[in-house]
């Protein structure tokens, strides 16, 4: 068990290291440097070279990488030469918005998928099942950059229930905060609903065929009780796994809605840093996102074998 955990964690660390190498190599190959952005179009080559030397960009890529990674391990991701803000500060400042969006999107998706999944699985093949499967196929084909503008048109412009753009902090009151976050969260949630519904439907149908369900029904327990107390829990296992993994993925996947709705989150910061060639900032954020994603994956994998003894046995064999 301990060996398996060490192996899994070691592998994750390797993956993260590979990601950092790739990011630094990728951004290092970019033509033009942040010095040109800071000094403007008319900078002399000498001034650019001096600025590069001052920022430590004149040494070879691998030594830039080594010094960056040794700082990064200690939690210092560097300072943006463009804004003077430390990368860690920027992440801490922006993360709550993205995290709230991702969490709200997932919560909405889980709630809707739960209802649709139970409806589907209670009578597989029925009109209701086919109906909700059709709805989930439709949702699967609505990416955020389509859902966003369409939601804005109907709910923010026509009905004026929600603001078109903008974000208000939770400290300014929960109501306006939720109002601003709801549309973007729904835009993210649509495709998630589809994948959650499919997963839950398959698992629930499988569970409902088991003997203990038959015996619960034979005892005369009401259908709703059997569904929610007996069938749902063993079926929601892989759903929760996928939801956890998707939370990690969404932290890097909210770029579209953040730009569209003008939300001050991580995604917007990455997008604007990439256009201004703020390499240090991009490097820090991408690595942060990768660490979160890989970390969540690892924890989910490991907890899987802690919660379910059957998985542990297979892994040990």
């Amino acid at each position: 068990m301990v060996l398996a955990v060490t192996k899994r964690v070691g592998r994750s660390v390797l993956v993260v290291l590979l990601v950092t190498v790739a990011v630094v190599a990728l951004l290092g190959l970019a033509p033009g440097s942040v010095a040109e952005v800071i000094l403007g179009e008319n900078a002399t080559p000498d001034a650019v070279a001096a600025m590069n030397a001052q920022l430590g960009l004149d040494v070879p890529l691998w030594s830039q990488y080594l010094s960056w990674i040794s700082d990064a391990v200690q939690g210092d991701l560097g300072t943006s030469p463009l804004t003077g803000q430390s990368v860690r500060e920027a992440i801490v400042e922006r993360l709550p918005v993205t995290l709230q969006l991702a969490a709200m999107g997932l919560t909405i998706a889980l709630a809707v998928a739960l209802i649709m999944g139970v409806v589907s699985a209670s009578r597989p093949g029925s009109a209701l099942d086919r109906g909700s499967s059709a709805v989930s196929s439709v949702f699967l084909s609505v990416p955020a950059f389509i859902a966003g503008p369409v939601l804005i048109y109907f709910f923010a412009i026509q009905l004026q229930w929600f603001p078109v753009m903008g974000w208000s902090q939770i400290s300014e009151g929960l109501g306006p905060n939720l109002r601003g976050a709801l549309l973007p969260a729904v835009a993210i949630a649509l495709t998630e609903i589809a994948s959650f519904h499919r997963l839950l439907r398959t698992d629930l149908i499988g569970t409902l065929r088991e003997d203990f369900i038959a015996s619960a029904r034979a005892k005369g327990m009401p259908g709703g009780y059997v569904m929610f107390r007996h069938a749902l829990r063993p079926s929601s296992f892989s759903l929760i796994t996928v939801a956890g993994i998707n939370l990690g993925r969404l932290i890097g996947g909210t770029v579209i809605v953040e730009t569209l709705f003008g939300l001050p989150g991580l995604g917007q910061l990455v997008a604007s840093s990439i256009t201004s060639r703020d390499v240090i900032m991009v490097q820090g954020i991408v690595v942060f996102i990768a660490v979160v994603y890989v970390g969540v994956n690892t924890v989910v994998d490991l907890s899987y074998s802690v919660i379910d003894p059957r998985v542990r046995k297979v892994a040990g064999a």
Binding site: F145, Y153, G253, I256, I274, V286
Partner: protein, 302 residues
């Protein structure tokens, strides 16, 4: 199940010879559920591909030249005005048709190139195992840990935004999923008896890989292709939506939504027309892909 089918087929002969007709279990023919949606999806894709291929021959206005006043709504009468005009007065229909070229080319090329490279790497990793497998899986994991849209954004900012840049980025996104799929399928086939038989009669690795295992992989992997193409069309759309995709004046569906989104309050068709086209295309590809996968992918059954 196949055995039963064989005995059933042989049944009429035994029946006529007069021997005791033992009541064999009657196995009903498995009825494939034909979904109207799949047919409609194929129809839509065929129409779209035909339009994109024949765009030069069709009686359409050029996509870069204004044909009427800007932001006209959809109207009958003239083919060019059927879907209205965009913010510069260019024909939306023409831009949709030419945009289909970009989306379809990007989706197909990135999908197929990623499919070929990823499948081959996955095949080798799954077959040889050990060090190679460990290394390949590690790289695939690292590629999957990279936030996809951010990789595309970074590439678009490093290299000049163009069709080939986007193709490069999208192909990089496709490869790891095909590696995983192909590796898993290879491992399940490589342990089969016919592979051991081939090895026992002295077949080399090359023969086993390409003559014994690969043919079995093609169907399930190719069935995954439409779903990947749908994802690629969405990714290209997202990138163009952020203004970092196909450079103007060449039209792309995501770019059209981006152009129109600021005027959505007054002329919603600027957004709704390309949005519906993307939706229909992605939906159709997903439907076809699901249909093919349930038929051909062994890892989804048993």
């Amino acid at each position: 199940m196949t055995e039963v089918a064989v005995t059933q087929r042989a049944l009429p002969e035994t029946g006529t010879s007069g021997t005791a007709a033992v009541a064999l279990p009657v196995v009903p023919v498995v009825r494939r559920r034909r979904s109207v949606l799949v047919y409609l999806s194929v129809l839509w894709l065929v129409v779209l591909i035909a339009a994109a291929v024949a765009a030069n021959v069709l009686p359409l206005a050029p996509y870069a030249i204004p044909v009427a006043a800007p932001r006209l709504g959809p109207q009958f009468g003239s083919l060019d005005l059927l879907l209205g005009t965009d913010t510069l007065g260019r024909s939306m229909l023409s831009r949709i048709v030419y945009g289909a070229r970009v989306s379809l080319v990007v989706g197909t090329v990135a999908g197929v190139v990623g499919f070929v490279i990823g499948s081959l790497i996955g095949l080798l990793a799954g077959y040889f195992g050990k060090r190679l497998d460990a290394g390949v899986s590690l790289v695939a994991d690292a590629m999957l840990a990279f936030p996809p849209l951010i990789l595309l954004l970074a590439l678009a900012s490093i290299l000049k935004p163009s069709v080939s840049t986007i193709l490069l980025g999208l192909t990089l996104l496709v490869i790891p999923s095909f590696i995983r799929l192909s590796r898993a399928n290879t491992m399940s086939w490589a342990s089969r008896e016919f592979v051991r038989a081939a090895r026992n009669i002295g077949a080399g690795h090359c023969r086993i890989l390409f003559r014994e295992i690969l043919p079995n992989l093609l169907a399930p992997l190719a069935a995954f292709l439409p779903i990947v193409m749908a994802a690629m069309i969405v990714a290209e759309g997202s990138l163009s939506f952020l203004g970092l995709g196909i450079p103007p004046p060449q039209p792309s569906w995501g770019g059209m939504i981006n152009d129109g989104k600021d005027a959505i309050a007054t002329s919603p068709h600027l957004v709704f027309v390309p949005a519906l086209v993307i939706f229909f295309t992605v939906f159709a590809l997903n439907q076809v892909g699901d249909h093919l996968r349930t038929r051909f992918d062994r890892t989804l059954h048993d």
